[in-house]
Symmetry: C2
Subunit: 152 residues, 2 copies
């Protein structure tokens, strides 16, 4: 039988890079869901908290930008963190459009528990540092390409 050129129509989901990333993201979500259960945080909430722990107070816009999220996503997320008593909002006095997000004592205290989470994740990833760094670069390059393409 004649071998015909493979058209993109023949590519199954499992050969698609996008689907691999889709599943990887699902997998991270599931692992984090378990690991974060004792902290009472979701995965995006945890990312936000890590940002605040390492960078200190940030405005809503800075948080949006660093997480790559829209204000329509971040605003309600921060509202929930506020309700949990982990952060506080305060309008900036020199520019009243901006709203700064501060960690409360309780929010700062939660960082102690995050070490265990990170260990748990590192173990779940189960690749050594060297290889992990390579993965990181590879995936970042992919992201950069896609972002580039989306912007034209």
């Amino acid at each position: 039988m004649k071998t015909r050129l493979k058209s993109t129509a023949d590519i199954g989901l499992d050969q698609m890079l996008c689907f691999a990333v889709y599943k990887a993201e699902q997998a991270f979500n599931r692992v984090y869901r378990q690991a974060l259960e004792p902290l009472g945080l979701t995965y995006p909430q945890f990312l936000t908290m890590r940002l605040l722990w390492s960078a200190g107070n940030l405005s809503v816009g800075e948080i949006s930008e660093r997480l790559g999220l829209d204000s329509g996503t971040v605003t309600p997320l921060l509202k929930r963190l506020t309700l949990m008593g982990l952060v506080k909002k305060a309008r900036r006095t020199d520019d009243e459009r901006r709203v700064d997000i501060f960690l409360t004592d309780e929010g700062r205290a939660l960082e102690a528990k995050s070490e265990a989470v990170m260990q748990c994740i590192a173990q779940a990833i189960a690749v050594d540092g060297q290889e992990g760094d390579e993965m990181l670069m590879t995936i970042n390059r992919l992201t950069a390409n896609l972002t580039d393409a989306a912007e034209r």
Copy 2:
């Protein structure tokens, strides 16, 4: 100054593999959003249609399983595809618990437009086949590790 051991607390978001995957998934979503606009499909809807195009009729459960999604996600998604007239549901006669999903003529016809989408995505990914395959394997291994860890 003394160099101290790097604790996981010091790792910024940008050094975290999970965040890289998070952003890659965001990026794919944005590229697909643009590419799929002419088809009137979302990214998960497109994945579902590709599944049906290549595998033929499947039950709700089979679709859930292959996409790695819950019935609480898939059921409303299929309801929307049904409303668009792309698929039809039919209870299986030999086991009335099952619901088979069929492509309509319109649904089958839509495949013609999918080729352009795939080309567009391939171009956005911007890595050659060889390297893409390596990425695929790398990411799949990561996913396997995570899934493994989540299951114990």
